[in-house]
Symmetry: C2
Amino acid sequence: MHFSSEHITIFLLSIAMMLLFAKVFGELFTLIKQPAIIGEIIAGIILGPTIFGTIFPDSYNYIFNHSEQVNIALNGFITLSVVLLLLISGLEVDLAVVLSHGKKAIYTSFFSLIIPFSLGFLISYYFPNLFGIVESNSNLIFPLFMGAALSISALPVIAKVLMDLKIFKSEVGFIIISSAMLNDLAAWLIFSLLLGSISNSSGSVSFSTTITLTLIFIGFSLTIGKKIFNSIIPFLQDNISYPGGILNFILILGLFSSAFTEFIGIHSIFGAFIIGIAIGDSVHLKEQTREIVHQFVSNIFGPIFAVSIGLKINFIASFNLQTILIILFLGYLVKIFGAGIGSYFSGLKKNESLAIGFGMSARGEMGIILSILALEVGIINEEVFVALVIMALVTSITSAPFMKFFLKEKDKLKLDNLLKEKFIFFSTATTKEEVIFELASVAAKEMNLDKDFVFSQIMEREEILPTGIANFLALPHAKIEIKEPFIALAITKNGIDFEANDNNLSRIIILLLTPSNQNEIQLELLSKIAKTFENIEFSKKLITAKTQTEILKMIRKS
Amino acid sequence: MHFSSEHITIFLLSIAMMLLFAKVFGELFTLIKQPAIIGEIIAGIILGPTIFGTIFPDSYNYIFNHSEQVNIALNGFITLSVVLLLLISGLEVDLAVVLSHGKKAIYTSFFSLIIPFSLGFLISYYFPNLFGIVESNSNLIFPLFMGAALSISALPVIAKVLMDLKIFKSEVGFIIISSAMLNDLAAWLIFSLLLGSISNSSGSVSFSTTITLTLIFIGFSLTIGKKIFNSIIPFLQDNISYPGGILNFILILGLFSSAFTEFIGIHSIFGAFIIGIAIGDSVHLKEQTREIVHQFVSNIFGPIFAVSIGLKINFIASFNLQTILIILFLGYLVKIFGAGIGSYFSGLKKNESLAIGFGMSARGEMGIILSILALEVGIINEEVFVALVIMALVTSITSAPFMKFFLKEKDKLKLDNLLKEKFIFFSTATTKEEVIFELASVAAKEMNLDKDFVFSQIMEREEILPTGIANFLALPHAKIEIKEPFIALAITKNGIDFEANDNNLSRIIILLLTPSNQNEIQLELLSKIAKTFENIEFSKKLITAKTQTEILKMIRKS
């Protein structure tokens, strides 16, 4: 069986088409602030049997269903792509983060895993007909799979959403990320063992050997292996060609591990994922290296995989509304319930818990990869597959808006919500130090802090770079160990020199204190305040105000 | 025919092995200052039937000759790798450079193409038995191929060698590069048409159509296509995700073009190469973009291809010393003769012409890709293939040492070769200006330049950054329009303040003038001079010297 010139033509053409569609839709989705991968998956559905294959069946078959040779070559390339995709997902997992966030992370992780898994398992075990499965097969494969599919989270999508919402480094962000990591790890493990138990096609080892070797592999990779990488990586980064050398090192390890796990009877991507975690945990791995590997994989292998999903199946022909709605409902329910309960019990507020629940409901590419493998080995039928893909897409798209809605923090970040009458005062101060001390005293009283300490923190920042803006506004600020942002406002009778851009003396002095670990919030509030005062007429009016109430009203109306 | 779990295991394992060996040997060769690709090719010979396959035939067959499925999947991946490799080779071609270097480049390009091609053609036509071909086949295929194989140059390898020798931007460097570009373009064109004429396996179009479409494709790509890319690229670089967007744009275009050329009956890699030229010619393509594409391809696809060469064949079994020696001899002869004559006629010196001849003899991966394709379609047998690969390797390895040998410039870049007695004098100057004017006068007289002009050039540099080094040495320097570096030395009776690092006044004032287009030479000479004086005892001794002869002797011995 020869790989002829015609096969080469079609092979190259199909990859070119896949990349082209992936890129166009990926960019479009980036424009509307959605993860590119969602656009890429939709590109695949358009390019696949669902749309292109239905409208132009001949062209579709010529390009994407040409011959066994081309199919195998494409299959090989797609396999490689998924392996590399899981490798970089693994790199993003940082097990230390889970532990470092103590009770809250552990509670949330645990419940967001156990509840979806149990609910998924029980519902599919007792009501298989909900998923269009009529014959009562007594085995546990399908229920176990549904448990795993519902308990997985899409770490890459979730990370992207958190970054977009600027809460990646907030407490809620950390809890979501660490729970998602643990969910992924556990769900993959369960699923890989499941696959191992049913697909004996490699036939090389028995199931008990598979389990033993898997546990040894995980144990070794995440302890001794991790330590070895951690000591080799700095050497490689310094002594072989950079970035080529380290990139290759990571790819080679990923490929060997995936070949190994495939050989012992669990799926190749599990090996890539675990070794990714082991490598990514190294404190010596430069951020730049991580970024390069990421760019490398996500610019060709990622899109190729994403598009290939849609090529598998006709989504319209296998579209079963009932199955979709049930799985979609379950998809939200189990995570909101599981992750939400976990975080609520751990002491988070109700709205935060709901936000975490919706955030973790995003299944993204992780859920889809699981579904593809399950479809391939016959655990699920095409209708359930379509429903799972749609559930993964919908939950991923909705996670950001829902989180935004529940995290009222975002709305709280408004000047008029933070500023209260008691934090507004009229001052006769004549120097920077004087007025800042008055403001610091108000803040210190409110938050039970030492006022000299608060004062020194603000002055330290002020001395580096004076905070006079323009239009009579000065904006002294500091990051300190507090939970919520704090704003106080002084109207001074005398102008004070804060070295404003327009050389005017400042009359409206607003103090902004923000939690020390939340850089984005400080920046956002600073820019909001500056924006409020960008019109000089507003400043002039504010200065003439006679009472705190009047000032607050003006700011609310602005 | 299913791509089973076992196939996946072997597919991933074989890629991991290929990358691992490629990386190890590539790094080793980088260490000994050879292009990585040579190490990667040797890694393939070790991993292939020649060594690994002979010693452990079972393991070899299990990994690299496992089943049709794995072979096809690997084949697809390797095809993709070669296409991308040619794409980046095309990006490196800058047709404008050829024209901008006028007569010299055009002469050299022309002769370095026409002589190797004619000699290769004639010798293989009249003496096919030299290559072990006994049956007298009247057709022209083999002679035409040998013409193309001998006239090609390895642009990537040559560029690397020139950079290592620090003459990439010298006149000789430009001539070599521009000739290599033209050679590559022409040789690929000839060979692609040759392939088109014999392999009608795609069967889609007739040979005359192939020629017509090829010419249209080249014409279109290098004129209208080039203009279109040139205007699209800035838009893409600014408006879509960077670098992912532009990287994908280049890859997608490359893949479509290669599919197109494969379809019309010439090889896929020709399309990638031509479109690479068209894209690379865009003045708007950022250097960073070029670098990223390069990194992307050369870190996984490049090594995979390089290793795959050795996997094709047992180099020892097909080792025919006579064939190898003849092809090696021809490989050197035709290029030294062709490129050498061309550059000599164009007015370059004999040693420079010889250097160009040896430089252009490097066939690198280009010659090998040609040979692989020729082997696959049966134009050459395995013995000729092995000989061509060895010729490509040997000419690539030797090009740097030979060039170094003939470009005596490198040896001339020694202090004691440049410094002559008549350029050494004792001065009673007391100021910077005075001594620099004396030095400038010596230089101006020697080179027939205006001394005020030379003085002002040196002072301009001096005023930006004083050139006092340490150990009584000052090193005023300038780049001006001269052909050869110039050095003059003054020993001053009085110390002069050149603001040296050790705060000592300077007594040894060395003037260095270098050709204005040769940055590397200036840097090299500056560092050599500074190094000569890094021991203060040497400076002290030199200051006590009584005669020019004594000074020169001391410097020679240093």
